[in-house]
């Protein structure tokens, strides 16, 4: 690989704001592109230097390309993904505790949707997040989780009645964590919504 190609790829790596693994993949993919393009240009009669220069020019500005790739992978940084998974585990365990406590409360007239449904939905969503954190379904489900978090905060007295009166503050915290977890997932929906399924 020539110095000009190396500095092009270095400029891409510097401008990319994705995780090191993805940055490595992008750099290798672009390196292959440059080499293929230069080989074709050499075959069409260019000198090796001309071919490399033209291959780089055809790929465009490294900064613009990196910014375009950053926009695609926005919201998918390893740090955000790790936080989402951490929150999913935390809220799933809380949901499991709520279900167990709520089940031990004997009142048959309690609203089942709040008593079991909401925590069960959180638990299922948590497991789904851990297994498929980048799926479209997960991102769409984030909106629902934000709403469930809100409902839990609004109905905190009812949950405290099932779990114990001194747990009202932790229930609010769980609701807020759920809203944060769902919000981090739902942000990725904008990325999907930006997808233009027309002529690329």
């Amino acid at each position: 690989m020539s110095d000009s190609m190396r500095s092009f790829l270095e400029a891409i790596r510097t401008t990319l704001s994705v995780g090191p693994r993805r940055a490595g993949r992008i750099a290798r993919e672009l390196e292959d592109h440059l080499e293929s393009s230069a080989a074709m240009l050499r075959a069409s009669g260019r000198t090796p230097e001309e071919a490399e220069r033209e291959a780089i020019t055809r790929l465009g500005s490294p900064e613009s390309l990196a910014h375009a790739l950053n926009a695609v992978h926005k919201g998918d940084t390893p740090r955000i993904k790790t936080w989402r998974i951490f929150l999913a585990i935390l809220t799933s365990l809380s949901a499991l505790a709520i279900i167990l406590y709520a089940l031990s409360a004997p009142e048959a007239s309690d609203p089942v949707a709040l008593k079991i449904g909401a925590p069960l939905a959180i638990l299922v969503y948590g497991v789904f997040t851990v297994l498929w954190p980048n799926s479209l379904l997960n991102h769409a489900g984030g909106v629902g989780v934000v709403l469930i978090g809100l409902v839990i905060i609004i109905c905190r007295e009812l949950y405290a009645h099932w779990i114990g009166p001194s747990y009202e503050a932790p229930i609010i915290v769980i609701g807020l964590l759920l809203m944060l977890q769902g919000g981090l997932s739902a942000v990725n929906l904008f990325n999907h919504a930006a997808f233009d399924s027309g002529v690329v």
């Binding site: 993949r25 992008i26 290798r28 993919e29 672009l30 292959d32 592109h33 080499e35 293929s36 393009s37 074709m40 055809r58 790929l59 465009g60 500005s61 613009s64 390309l65 375009a68 790739l69 926009a71 695609v72 992978h73 998918d76 980048n134 799926s135 479209l136 990325n191 999907h192 997808f195 399924s197 027309g198 002529v199 690329v200």
Partner: protein
Amino acid sequence: MLLLAVIRDGATHGYAIIEQLRERSGGTFDLPEGTIYPALHRLERFGAVKSRWADAGGRRRRVYALTLSGRRLLTTEERGWDLFTKAIGSVLRSSS
């Protein structure tokens, strides 16, 4: 839609996709080469294509293939495009 149509014929890498587009369109779609990768990555995130590393000619290349939902998306887009071109054709013919 054009990228999906090129990928439909088999797993292929970014540079070959650009070459195919250029060739099949008789040089009309001579895309700035840098635009292909953000588009492919977006399609991958959307679930329309999947990618993997493959060895070809002693070189490791990232190749892209259509997923089932990508095939469905392409079929839908093709139908829409057919309707659109037929409608435009009808309008043009009726005005001449």
